[in-house]
């Protein structure tokens, strides 16, 4: 060893590849002429090899390699490229809000956009009402209860005849834009409240179970008739007629239910089937009687 020998820290740094090229060159030239430093380097290399061989698994796990770093960076880049649109928008908005002038401009643009959309929406509603007389006919819009407007609509939006106890109708063409807008608001509110179900409960019950031969046509006919009759029975029938109708309907429904149970228990019971079909026919006749009365009244009006 001489006064030019390097310290153990520098030698260790050299072995770890952390010294500068100049230091590494000087150390290499010195070691080639200095036996003490050569032994010191050899000893340090042995210690390093022992330590690395002992802690190889831990070091491989804990210290990320360059390939691992590249994989991590690739994954981050991929995630960034596939990030949702709203996240990007939020990021841009966050960056934009940092600038006051951009923020002010965005506020103005948004306000103008909302105002334009609001005006456009109102115009479209008015146009729809005025230009589609088949969707709201004068007889469909009947003011009742002191000025409220009632328009019967189905779930799919098609107009139905309104309640017939109304005495007055609305002439759409004579309404102002504001009144038409109010009318449209009323229609929307009522159509969301009134949902006229096209399929009756009886039909649904029957549809759950399997139909008997020929039963389906009865059930469908009854469903169609009932849907029609339900909309007019309150107005067509007198109270006494209505009581009789409901009583007879209850009798027929009870008969259908009981006979269906019997047929379900014993499908080979032809008598039960005959009575069941007879009851279905009674129900059809009953529903037809309401339609017949309504037809006669209408012909004499």
């Amino acid at each position: 060893m001489n006064g030019k020998c390097f310290e153990i820290g520098t030698i260790q740094a050299f072995l770890d590849g952390e010294t500068t090229p100049e230091v590494s060159l000087r150390l290499t030239q010195h070691v080639s002429a200095c036996d003490g430093c050569a032994r010191l380097i050899a000893s340090a290399e042995e210690e390093n090899s022992f330590v690395f061989s002992t802690l190889e698994r831990e070091l491989d796990t804990l210290v990320p390699t360059q390939r691992l770093w590249s994989r991590i960076n690739d994954s981050i880049a991929e995630e960034k490229s596939s990030a949702p649109f709203w996240q990007k928008v939020a990021l841009y908005a966050r960056l934009a809000l940092a600038n006051p002038s951009i923020t002010a401009a965005a506020v103005v643009v948004l306000a103008l956009g909302m105002f334009a959309a609001f005006v456009s929406l109102n115009d479209r509603v008015e146009t729809t009402i005025v230009s589609s007389p088949q969707s709201i006919r004068p007889n469909d819009a009947a003011p009742v209860d002191g000025g409220t407007v009632e328009i019967a609509t189905t779930a799919d939006g098609s107009a139905l005849p309104s309640r017939t106890d109304s005495k007055q109708s609305v002439t759409i063409s004579s309404l102002s834009r504001k009144e038409i807008r109010d009318l449209a608001a009323s229609v929307n509110a009522r159509s969301s409240q009134r949902e006229i179900k096209p399929v009756t409960a009886d039909y649904r019950v029957a549809a759950v179970d399997s139909y008997l031969p020929g039963e389906e046509s009865y059930v469908k006919t009854i469903s169609d008739l009932k849907q029609n009759v339900d909309t007019q029975k309150d107005t067509v029938m007198t109270p006494s007629n209505r009581v009789s109708y409901e009583r007879d309907m209850a009798v027929v429904n009870d008969s259908i239910k009981r006979m269906r149970d019997v047929v379900k228990t014993n499908p080979r019971n032809q008598a039960a089937r005959q009575v069941l079909y007879s009851s279905y026919q009674d129900k059809i006749d009953l529903l037809n009687s309401v339609a017949q009365r309504e037809e006669l009244i209408a012909s004499l009006r």
Binding site: L110, S169, D285
Partner: protein, 345 residues
């Protein structure tokens, strides 16, 4: 420090603007609809007929010479209607305390030159329409030739018809009484009884809530059908000579008192009402009774052909005599009974 506060002010401005617009929109949606300025009054459909306006209130009478087999068409809005056949080729209409009316000849016979299609109607002053053409009054009497065919419709009218050839009547409310109609009947009333006596031809009787009674009726020709249908009322068929009968009631009872003719087809049906068949003991028919929760009994011994042994919904097929007529009786919860009468088959 200045930049964040500026951003905050901008955000507050934006929120205020957006909130104001939203409140305006919500307020417009929830605002109650105003009553339309322009309204036109239209008559709405209803169960009750529109009130009869006795704008005339006069008693009047008109007559017209017609063909013996004239067809008369008329509508009655309100009143008691009586139609009588007579042996004169003339139609006379009398309205007491009612509307003024007119008689319009729609067609004349090519052979006799007389009116064979007549329309009796009110001469409306207001807007035209079927209702405004109807006769109305305290009582309406019509005399017509025995060979007259009537086509009658009405709202609230108690109708009595006697001794004409044929009638078709449809009224909303009121009793229909028909007698001595030889050429066929088609009668419907939504609310009221239908009674037919001593008549012939194809007969169709229908009521929604009323009873149906047919006594001493017979077919005009082979194949004429007697059909009686009511929902809540009872049906009584007595001394009926039709070979084809269909009678049905939902909650009313059904009574057949007569004979089953050889080759006839008889169908009786109720849902909840009882069915009574009063027939001679020496009748000849094949009897098929189907009942769900009801019962079946007979005073006349029957020869049982088939009978299904089921606790619910039974069918009994039996014969009486030679089994000439086919009788089908169906009820859901009513009872079926055969009673013996003293009449000769």
């Amino acid at each position: 420090m200045f930049v964040p506060s500026k951003n905050l002010i901008c955000l507050l401005l934006f929120l205020c603007l957006a909130g104001g617009l939203a409140a305006d929109a919500v307020g417009q949606e929830k605002a109650p609809p105003k009553a339309p300025k322009s309204r036109e009054i239209v008559p709405g459909p209803g169960a009750e007929p529109p009130p009869f306006v006795r704008e005339d209130g006069v008693t009047s009478e008109r007559s017209m010479s017609v063909d013996p087999n004239v067809a008369v068409k008329l509508c009655v809005s309100e009143g008691t209607l009586k139609i009588n056949g007579w042996n004169r080729d003339e139609v006379r209409v009398f309205v007491k305390n009612g509307r003024k009316f007119g008689m319009k000849a729609l067609e004349k016979s090519a052979d006799t030159g007389k009116v064979n299609w007549l329309w009796v109607a009110h001469s409306p002053v207001g807007p035209p329409g079927p209702a405004s053409e109807c006769l109305a009054g305290d009582s309406i009497e019509i005399d017509a030739p025995i060979g007259t065919s009537f086509d009658l419709s009405g709202r609230a009218a108690r109708t009595t018809v006697d001794s004409i050839k044929k009638i078709k009547v449809k009224i909303v409310e009121g009793v229909i009484m028909l007698r001595n109609i030889t050429g066929g009947i088609n009668a419907y009333t939504s609310q009221g009884d239908v009674m037919v006596e001593n008549s012939g031809g194809a007969i169709a009787l229908e009521s929604t809530t009323g009873n149906i009674v047919a006594i001493e009726v017979s077919p005009g020709q082979i194949g004429d059908l007697l059909r009686a249908k009511t929902n809540s009322g009872a049906i009584t068929l007595q001394k009926v000579e039709h070979r084809q009968i269909e009678a049905s009631s939902i909650s009313g009872s059904l009574l057949f008192d007569g004979k089953f003719l050889n080759g006839g087809i008889y169908n009786f049906r109720t849902s909840n009402g009882s069915i009574r068949l009063a027939i001679p003991a020496a009748s000849s028919c094949t009897f098929k009774a189907t009942y769900g929760f009801g019962s079946f009994n007979s005073e006349i011994p029957l020869k049982i052909l088939t009978e299904n042994d089921s606790p619910r919904a039974r069918t009994v097929v039996a014969t009486l005599g030679d089994g000439g007529a086919a009788v089908s009786v169906t009820t859901s919860s009513g009872s079926i009974a055969i009673r013996k009468t003293d009449a000769k088959p």
